[in-house]
Amino acid sequence: MSTTEDRPTAEGRVGEARLGSLRLLAASPVTVAAAVVLVVVVIVALTAQWIAPYGINDVDVSRALQGPSGAHPLGTDDLGRDILSRVMVAAGTSLQVALVSVVFAFCVGVPIGIVSGYVGGWLDTVLMRIVDVMFAFPVLLLALAIVAILQPGLATTMLAIGIVFTPIFARVARASTLSVRVEPYVQVAQTMGTPWYRIMGRHVLPNITGPLIVQTSLSLAFAILSEAALSFLGLGIQPPDPSWGGMLFAAQGFVSQAWWMSVFPGLAIFVTVLACNLLGDGLRDVLDPKQRTRIEARQR
């Protein structure tokens, strides 16, 4: 965060730095592959309702449990529904849940973290103890409790995962704010009488984006996993709407007869989560100043 390039004092240099980051990202084949996979998943998710070969609820028991074939490339499930279509539509649900919940966590957690880190004192203590309390619960347990209190469903799932991820963002934002707070440009702004909210928005936030971006991409991966877990437990997306976790749950009783019922939704989760994680790794390499210097040195 303290490299000369990241200083937001000159707009031109910020633009340059961003371009440089992109160039560095593009140089890593793994990161590029991960990004491509994610782009494909997003495109499929957005267009699934038009390009899916069958309706997601086309129940036809007479063609139940058919293996992969020309008509059903990924086979059919126990109610004769096309698994390919359901996996495609479920991609939209999974990404939607992941995105909304992470945006929620970001929008709530980051302000808490910045205020906590910047203001310090008793406010910091109070906010961080609350965050500690939330951290004390295992992620899934807390999400389960929230879903159990509210009615299971799409919105509840998003809210539950969002709440569970909020303290993570608060922690990351606070830690970065603490280091930025003592930077000369913040202190200069303070002596010049810039209002606190302006300092947080204009000077602190832009300088802690690196770790936040990395945290966001990693959280997306975990949000997809959490949604799958909740749906697997019957507390996430409710049938007949498809979700990857829900499809895995339904496949449980058929593992020995219809491997395709579990393998394909499982693969979808695996590939998407892996891509998110690899992209997160790639971003961290580029946005972490120490790593970045190393990469740049290697390239020269």
Binding site: D58, L79, Q238, P239, V255
Partner: protein
Amino acid sequence: MRRAAPLTAAVAGLALLAACSTGEPVDMGEGTGSGAEGGGQTLHVAIGGEPDQLDPNKTSSYFSFQVLENVYDTLVETDANLEMQPALAESWDISDDQLTWTFHLREGVTFHDGSEFTSEDVVYSYNRIIDEELSNAWKFTAIEDIAAPDDLTVEITLSQPTPNLLSNLGGFKGMAIVDQANVESDEITTAPVGTGPFSFEEWTSGDHITLTANPDYWGGAPEIAGVEFQFISEPSTALAALQSGEVQWTDVIPPQQVERLQGEDQIELGVAPSSDYWYLALNEANEPWDDVRARQAIAYAIDREAIIQAVSYGNAAANQLAIPEQSIWYSEYSTYSTDLDKAQELLDEAGVTGGTIDFMATTEYPETVTAAQIIASNLEPLGIDVEIRQPDFSTWLDEQNSGSFDLLMMGWLGNIDPDDFYYNQHHTDGTSNAQGYSNPEVDQLLEDARTETDQDARYDLYAEAATIIADEASYIYLYNPSVIQAWTPELAGYEVMPDRAIRFRDVQLMEG
């Protein structure tokens, strides 16, 4: 919670089935008592879960009854033809006015703790159920007095003729005769003392319960040394245990596995029709389901064949009434067929234009979730959007009792006498009438049938009531599933009971 009893518990009722009647499990038969203690090996079996407690009069868990079936006795008990046979009572007389039943008890029966079994034990057990208002107390509503004139006689006085008294007394081990000292020491919940073929040995929580053969059993000591019930909820684990010989018997078998298992040499598969039934119920407290036409529309819209195929893989019999074909109470009924035009017509008449249905399924019974999805796709063309909920079973029961549902699917297991289920579920004052059905004509028929002592007349009353119930779609009956159990060839003499009673007293274990 009322539903829990018939559902998971009353599983030891009986279903009138003539299909698998090879032996006479009631009488002593070939059990000569020669292989008492140490004579045989211990039988290992896998059941789907752990009992909540072992007090037969209090538990409502089928897992408890699977164990207790082998520990306790009732005055009379069901046989494989679902007729009532002597057990602790050797014989009985009925007074001419049908109001006094005198039971003559078996002599020389002892509890596992060595104490003598007498008529006082019967009086104590029944009064306990009545006085403490235990979940089966409703079976005793007609009983005015239970007396013990001497050690081996029990006299039951009734307020009205009760033709199904025997099935009320012996339909399942929920009415078992317990030992007073065992109850008062409170040990009955964890270490029950009965008069049955096996005595309780140990209970390792989360793992197994062990029973030991009772050498003094009145029906002759079992040939095996004992039974160990392991708790295995995961079907693939249970099947693996069966295939490896770790257990010799299990009922943890999903219906979709039946076809595959039929081809296996090392597994004997027992598939028999049961008296269980599964149904849909529409909440008549909610509009538009108070309109009989709206309910009938749903009955016409659903694809019964698809539902049955998807939940049972051919291991169930379609039925538009509760009682299966094998039963002496069976009456024919086939009004409904999948007919969307008819359904639309009925909805139009009722003035229903689409809307949403809150379908309450539960993951505890996966068939409800499967069927819900089929019904959702069946009702889509009618503009009805089915929203599926799948709460855990205890929430499900609460929601049912408080009426927070539009549509639900559930099953009743181990049904014996029509009074057990028709009255409770469809009489205006029925204890399980969660859907809120009320028809004075049906009420009258059910009340009359309750006290009608002529079997033919009683049959007609129930057939008529059942027809009205189905016509007015108080319940939309779906199917009678099969009992599915599997064992290894080493286990001989085991018989699948249509009421899901699990009896190991007459089995032998061959050298593997």
